[in-house]
Symmetry: D2
Subunit: 374 residues, 4 copies
């Protein structure tokens, strides 16, 4: 380790996590963390808990877990709160959400029943050491209280230039918005692959069927507009039609959300891609994704809680406000004015991991690797 890493304050005591609403994602996250703490299940999908990071050369075989490489808070220190318009405790809310099965909820029933939502206003008693996920109305309050936050929904309230500038000044790490799960996740995996191979795109049709409240709301074209913007733009940014006009200038992109009650919280996304190759010959890719939104979102919440807390303890990171290295988790990643957002999942991962290496003074990975042949 030749270079010197950044200064990072120690993680001390409890880390409060405040959730704006006891819905499917929040209860799946909370119940999951408790089940993991009791060793009843594994934090699959969490880069901080399951992920490793390669250091140095391929032949050095240094590949620690991310949570052993950077000083993250331990799961045992997480403490949960939230507010909601309804009075259900976390157990009742989780049962209603219909995501986790009885075999996972029953053993931790007591714990969940102990988490009761506050009325839907912002609370000061959590302020000392707290991460707010998706703070809708209390955003400005969060900033003023120096509470890091991640915006998991597509709404626009927390990313005005003024607020983002304030975040930097107050040294509050922020990131968002709209968690990248399901169909958009797959898009940001596959579109970079098409571009890598310089395959052209005539059209990409995406449809979704889902039966939860999200589906009911988004089936309405009016309500879908904000979400649609966030879903449509990823392809534009990844494929760069301005750079590759022959390949991507006129592709037709359409996203539809259909309320379809038989599935409940389970979602199905069907995509059809009309692509073309050598001399323009057409090919098709069709993808059917039987996914589960909350199952994909919960580990994102966990990672963001831990990474934002880390960023707050590293002054070099906190003073920058926006944490672009967390773009990996979002459909509409926040970024500095004058930059374009980065949507390619693999560039996002490179950015995240090289940021962690930089934080600890390790060499950047460039994958050049000519030295193995000397």
């Amino acid at each position: 380790m030749a270079k010197k890493g950044m200064k990072i304050a120690e993680s001390k005591g409890r880390l409060g996590v405040l959730m704006p609403g006891m819905g499917a994602v929040a209860t799946t996250f909370i119940a999951g963390v408790e089940a993991i703490r009791r060793q009843l299940a594994l934090p699959i999908g969490s880069l901080t808990q399951m992920g490793t990071i390669r250091l140095g050369k391929r032949t050095e075989a240094r590949r620690p877990r991310v949570r052993d490489f950077v000083p993250l808070a331990g799961l045992e220190n997480l403490e949960f709160g939230g507010w909601d318009l309804f009075h259900d405790d976390a157990y009742e809310a989780a049962v209603k959400a219909g995501v986790l099965e009885a075999r996972h909820l029953d053993p931790i029933q007591d714990f969940l029943k102990g988490i009761k939502p506050m009325p839907a206003v912002f609370e000061q008693r959590f302020v000392k050491n707290l991460k707010g996920e998706n703070i809708k109305r209390g955003a400005y309050a969060a900033l003023k209280s120096r509470v890091p936050y991640a915006n998991g929904a597509p709404n626009l309230t927390v990313d005005t230039p003024a607020l983002l500038e304030l975040a930097g000044k107050l040294r509050v790490p922020v990131c968002g918005k709209d968690f990248k799960t399901g169909q958009t996740l797959l898009k940001t995996i596959i579109a970079p692959g098409l571009k890598a191979r310089q395959l052209g795109l005539h059209g990409w049709f995406s449809t979704n069927i889902l039966g939860n409240r999200d589906g009911e709301v988004l089936d309405d074209p009016e309500s879908f507009r904000t979400k649609e913007e966030s879903k449509l733009s990823v392809l534009e940014y990844i494929l760069q039609p301005e750079l590759y006009p022959e390949l991507y200038k006129n592709f037709y992109h359409k996203v539809r959300i259909n309320y379809y009650p038989p599935r409940g919280d389970n979602k199905e996304g069907w995509d059809n891609l009309d692509i073309f190759g050598w001399l323009g010959y057409p090919m098709q890719i069709k993808i059917d994704f039987l996914c589960r939104d909350s199952i994909l979102a919960a580990p994102i919440v966990l990672d963001l809680v831990l990474f934002l807390d880390l960023a707050q303890r590293a002054p070099e990171m906190a003073r920058r406000g926006i944490q672009e290295w967390l773009s990996f988790y979002f459909k509409s990643p926040m970024h500095a004015p004058g930059l374009y957002p980065e949507h390619d999942l693999f560039i996002q991962l490179m950015k995240l991991k090289n940021t962690l290496r930089h934080l600890r003074g390790e060499e950047m990975i460039t994958h050049l690797g000519l030295e193995y042949y000397d």
Copy 2:
């Protein structure tokens, strides 16, 4: 441009390309290059012709085409030859292959009729300046004649340690093997995406239907064995079960090839992935790829011809023999002894592009990008 690039000799005169067999890939490649030269079609799928490379910071907007950034031979200088057991000229062979339509073959009929295969033995008169693709029997001869070669098939003849060492000593760039097209291409796009998000894998079932001679041969389990090895190992290497035992230790991977005449050269790959997320909850991804092998392979041949010629003219690259930076194009990329092969398409692309940057003395891209927030 702070650093100094490598020495690269100028590209002079004709560049001979020798194809071992006038099959579907060879004729699609040759006819395509000629159609492109006559501006009847575009070299879609070719990174050298269509691709760009970002240099410096995102805000610098320096994004030249790859072919303008490194001194590649021009398409106008390519000259084609080959040998075959059959006496068909390239036009007859292309019609039999059934890949390109009459509207593309007819206008260049004269050109194609002029290309007649030699009997299937190695010919010395091409030796001066020649790239052989997939030289099966003449491999050793190619090396001795200092002819760079790329092995597009899965057979093992050209990658014994002794021959590869010889390649380095004789300063002959080599690479291979088994072009990455169709289903395996998609696998090396999607598997890195699953790993990025730390989603587990219970099983991956892949089946293919195709009606060309490849399909007829590979339908036989015995003949499929070599190919299967090359198809199965990509997931093992990308997913790293030894690093992620909870996610990837016991996944079941099966690949089947089925001869199905109704499709001719058009292929269809159907994949089913059983994955799992947070707390182990299962999800499924199904992918149907209506692809065309030769359409996907032809631009690979073009890129390899041009990149291998470039490597031969750059002593720093040629002396290394194996060109690991061309892993991007292969199902079983060659690599130095003691290393593992890199199968992740996105790492392969990073390696390729950072190699080109290094060749020209440009900064490596690491995607760190903290400076935008200073």
Copy 3:
């Protein structure tokens, strides 16, 4: 042949076919009939031309072609006309429609150029012996002129009770409406299969992507309403929720049409069925249909032209007006007041074939067949 068949007048001279608009269906039909007459292609999809009918016992092996069993007009006697708002002749219109390839249109170019549409009003000179397909505005005129007609579109103008009663009085065979092609065709194949096996249905989601003018119009929810009605009701009628409440009472049925230009006239329908079996255990069926509307509709037009002409020549059939035995071809089959429409494709086929047997005095087929075991 124990029983006596019906009286049927001989088919004499030319049979005029008048098409309301020279669109994709009309030109595919006209060009196809001419190509078939010149033996350049086969009338695939036409029950009158390709179909056979079993007579008597299985062991008798009497299976004549339908066209040899009942005295249909010959293809050589068909003569085409039509009207349109545009002045394109049938060749120009066929090229614009983009359904048939040059290799089918070029050899019959002269013939097609000779068919020029009349201005879009009803013409008397065809009246003597003419079948009008989908006569929108001239319907009443058609009846009065005793011209049989088939309504291939979902609009409502021609099936008011008064007009239908008039059809019977004037002895004009009529049928309609909305040709059964693509997704609805598959629905009326699969739904009877589910019901046969008493498998329950939670939901059926259908989505379509298509790039022709139909797609552009129907993408708009307002315009889709009439079509939707015709598409939705087939399941209700086939599955009979009132008879099978535990299986079909609350299934969720949704049909979406999406304008998606990359496909032109080629259509793709994707269906997801959530079904359930023994003790309520869930299963799923997903169907992807890469179909072509006009290719599926053209043989329907041919069969209707020939069968309606036959019905007109058989007084026993003509006096009934509505030809329920032609339900087989329609999404919303016409039927007598007080009856429900029959949507099950297999019952429709049974009805059609037993009607033909009845017409010729052959025994009805009941599939009982106990006598083989005596």
Copy 4:
């Protein structure tokens, strides 16, 4: 009711059902019947329990349940036994089979534990009144003891001409073989639909992934041969290439079974159909069926037990031995020498229902229906 029905003896006392092996199908059937008897679940998929039968004209609205129309034994009178190589009782066997969930097995645990398999030889004490399903080795013994049987597996032991003749002589109703579930069920639904519309077939590719013991055995090409025969022939018989050579003479049909452990007893069948229409234009249908073999087979067992018992009590049916009207349930239906088997699901259903009507002296349904228009 003008005609007179057949004589049918009354159903008296217990009806013993003997299963050859306590596998997934047997335990799903037994547990299901008990759950249904306790009103914990519904006999979905059973024609005898859920099905209705239309009598007389459409306007008469006579549609009794099948079980109210013919005098079937009641579920309360079924009694179960079986033999197996293993000593597991039915509860242990059901848990191992992994088909039914704890919420269905737990409430009837006591009942299931009371069913213990005999050693795998044929037992005389059940002989009086007993239905054997799939009696492999004791077949001849069953006949001699006058026990009706249904063969649910594809093996050949019980259908030699001599044995079938004996069945008639001894007045023992028999039927078989190979229960029609999953992919073959769908084939016999869709193929009649293609033929109805006279659409041609270039090829039909079917693949299956399943993780139970069936899958393990059938993955081996050698063991698959018998099953393959039964699976392949359905298309030949339905499509009648000898009658429709232009449509079906040379279609390529392939069926593959792949052992794929991640799914356990849940199966997935993927089909691709290359079809063609008007003038030969190609279209494709792809079907993905996420099904469950035992869930589809259990109601077949129930129906066969009840219908065979009925047939035994109706001398007119019993004396015929083979019960062709039960073809509806089998992949390879038994039939009289000199006849071809009927595979079309809709003809099979017509045959079954008209047989029931005949049994009770009701009019055959022919779907002619001209009288509604008089």
